[in-house]
């Protein structure tokens, strides 16, 4: 029973997803055409690579954010987590003083990376516990964590960035910057990390029970719980994954700037949310895909960088960015309403002719859950 409804639900999501991604894709193509015609340098290989690197940081965060939004939650703390994990990596590379002893520890680079990612996941885990177990609203729990994580980052650095990240041969902690700043096959490390995260999370979402649970809890948490989905476990895990994504971005940003600043990642959470929403996800949960989110991140990144290259004033840049986000989501809502109306019409037509299923393959799969939804509400 639960098997059939979930496959039906998934087919509907894929269909909707395709249409919505199509719209975001059109926006992206438009942006590229406009800026390419305004500046000859926009489509240069070097610039495309740089823009993609900017996109990658936001996209990685957005993938984590998508997990949370699919559940109907929100994670405002990822920007601060980016700053905190970067600072943790920076402090470990500069040497960690062991409390009560006059000894400094210089962990190897892979240890630094593992610890920093673990810190990111730890922050996410605390978020998850607060939300799933203590029933704090996601907005509030992660808003609090936004301040706490930023405060801890400032405490660790005492306001001064860590800039000696190269390490020393004698201490065996060199290689952090060369590794994360390297460009295997001509593409920056951030882009590879984005590709890896996108593939891994897409598999998790589409091929595992966890992915199906996540979509189910987002669509209707009560129904999911009654059909045996471990709702709390799912909730805790998605915040943990969002923290992992933030940790990865923290490391990449630190390498990118060759310096770990406590203010790193400020407002990143807002760009990530915008990318997810432009990519066609619903903030109420249950709808959204990795592909859409990636396209959303590309729309924002290519737009913002394009405005700089063309030389639009800073104030107009913000206005245009805001307008694009609103238009994208408004179009999305309009399309949703249209589809729903069309589906309802088809159902009532079916009722009159009392034909159980016509030749069209997609129609029954598409209309059934929609009717269920409307009945629920």
């Amino acid at each position: 029973m639960s098997e059939t409804t979930s496959t039906v639900a998934r087919r509907r999501i894929n269909l909707n997803g395709l249409l919505i991604e199509g719209r975001a894709l059109i926006a992206l193509v438009l942006i590229i055409i406009i800026f390419a015609s305004l500046s000859p340098n926009y489509l240069g290989i070097d610039n495309l690579i740089i823009m993609t690197r900017h996109v990658a940081m936001n996209a990685i965060l957005a993938i984590g954010m998508l997990m949370v939004i699919l559940n109907g939650g929100i994670d405002l703390s990822v920007g601060s987590t980016v700053g905190l994990t970067g600072v943790v990596a920076g402090s470990l590379l500069e040497g960690l003083q062991i409390p009560f002893l006059d000894v400094f520890a210089y962990p190897a680079v892979w240890v630094v990376i593992v610890i920093s990612l673990a810190v990111g996941m730890g922050i996410g885990y605390i978020n998850g516990i607060l939300i799933a177990r203590l029933k704090v609203a996601p907005f509030i729990a992660t808003l609090g964590m936004l301040y706490i994580a930023r405060g801890i980052a400032l405490l660790i650095t005492n306001g001064t960035p860590f800039s000696r990240l190269r390490g020393e041969e004698a201490l065996g902690n060199t290689g952090f910057l060369p590794f994360l700043k390297s460009s295997p096959l001509g593409l920056p490390m951030a882009v590879w990390v984005m590709v890896a995260f996108a593939i891994a999370f897409a598999i998790v979402l589409t091929k595992t029970p966890f992915g199906r649970w996540l979509y189910a809890t987002g669509s209707n948490e009560r129904a999911a719980e009654l059909s045996g989905v471990p709702v709390k476990k799912v909730q805790t895990r998605i915040y943990l994954l969002a923290g992992l994504c933030a940790g990865a971005v923290g490391l990449l940003l630190t390498a990118d700037l060759s310096s770990a600043t406590p203010s790193g990642g400020e407002f990143f959470e807002l760009n990530a949310i915008a990318a997810v929403v432009i990519g066609g996800a619903a903030l109420s949960g249950g709808r959204g895909t990795i592909r859409g989110t990636l396209i959303g991140a590309f729309v924002i990144g290519f737009l913002v960088d394009g405005l700089v290259i063309v030389g639009v004033s800073q104030f107009w840049q913000q206005i245009i960015k805001g307008a694009v986000i609103i238009i994208a989501v408004a179009l999305d809502q309009f399309q949703q309403t249209l589809q729903k109306r069309r589906a309802v019409k088809r159902v009532s037509a079916d009722g009159k002719t009392s034909e159980p299923s016509r030749t069209a393959q997609s129609a029954p799969g598409e209309e059934k859950p929609l009717v269920d939804n409307s009945v629920d509400k």
């Binding site: 070097d46 610039n47 306001g159 203010s263 700089v308």
Partner: protein
């Protein structure tokens, strides 16, 4: 069961880490409680930026050396937050306020409020647009600093070339003062052409992103002037990634430790040291004098301190952050 234990542990760890953080601030307050001289409040801009961190640290040390207690807060350039901090300073009846104001016009009312409540205010780093309210306004001379910085940069450019500018936070009047100071010098050299300008809000990450955009639009540039060191350091990262750092001359402003390292490494031409440490020590000394005698001991309310150029000739004299020995 395991879940519950994990929950408790996580919550406990959180509380513990918060508790572990607090003693440093508690001890200063506690030790201050035993002294009779009272508290001086320090309100700075952004404790996440080395420049203002130096300002706050200097003020705190100077205040405690004189036997007062100190409190340190930051308004992050938000006039409303500044207002709240002034309010709480008034209600705790501090002896004096050392303030780095959030905007020249927006801060007048806040300073007036403290003065009306009988608390003397001493401004450092930036000024307010009215005189006669604060007891003293100790400002580093941004226009003079921009002039000496621009002169050194023009010389390094060989008086020729195309360049771009990274502009600070547009709501901060120092951003405009510095930009104007640069422009006044550079306009005397027709061989220098500005091809682009972007706002990077004093921030290193934003400086890098904006520089990458500017580089894509104008690959031919040979110079970058930045309103502060953080943006200049971001630009240097972008230029290094693009393999252009050896041909592009970068100018910074503030004189922070990373900028001095960049000058030593040859990636930055020069920066302008803002004597923030001297200025802050001066402000605390005047506050102390005013509390004891009712006079600041200085004739003028507005006091401007000249900036000092840092280039590869004098980086060895840079002994500690924002101090040129």
């Amino acid at each position: 069961m395991f879940r519950k234990i994990a929950t408790v542990c996580a919550a406990g760890a959180l509380v513990f880490s918060l508790a572990a953080c607090s003693p440093s601030s508690d001890t200063t307050a506690a030790s201050g409680g035993t002294t009779e001289k009272g508290t001086i409040a320090v309100i700075t801009v952004d404790l996440g930026n080395p420049y203002w961190q130096a300002e706050a640290d200097t003020a705190k040390a100077a205040i405690e050396d004189l036997g007062y207690t100190s409190t340190v807060n930051a308004h992050n350039g938000d006039a409303d937050k500044q207002n709240q901090l002034i309010d709480s300073a008034i209600s705790t009846k501090v002896q004096a306020i050392i303030l780095d104001p959030a905007g020249a016009d927006e801060s007048v009312a806040a300073v007036q409020k403290a003065t009306d409540a009988g608390i003397p205010v001493f401004l450092v780093n930036a000024e307010i647009s009215e005189q006669g309210i604060a007891k003293s306004q100790i400002v580093s001379n941004n226009a003079q600093g921009a002039t000496i910085g621009a002169e050194a940069w023009v010389e390094a450019m060989g008086e020729n070339g195309v360049y771009v500018e990274l502009f600070g936070n547009p709501t901060d009047n120092n951003a405009q003062v510095r930009s104007d100071g640069y422009a006044a010098v550079i306009s005397g050299y027709p061989g220098l052409t500005k091809v682009g300008q972007e706002t990077a809000n004093w921030d290193r990450a934003e400086g890098k992103t904006k520089m990458e955009g500017l580089l894509a639009a104008h690959p031919e540039i040979t110079g970058v002037i930045a309103g502060n060191d953080e943006m200049a350091l971001g630009a240097i990262e972008a230029l290094t990634d693009a393999g252009k750092i050896s041909t592009v001359k970068v100018l910074g402003f503030d004189g922070n430790a990373d900028a001095v390292d960049a000058i030593n490494a040859g990636t930055m031409v020069a920066t302008v040291l803002q004597p923030i440490v001297t200025g802050t020590q001066e402000a605390v000394a005047q506050a102390d004098s005013f509390i004891r005698t009712g006079e600041t001991g200085v004739a003028d309310e507005k006091q401007s301190i000249d900036c000092v150029l840092i280039n590869k000739d004098n980086t060895a004299d840079y002994t500690s952050p924002f101090v040129l020995g």
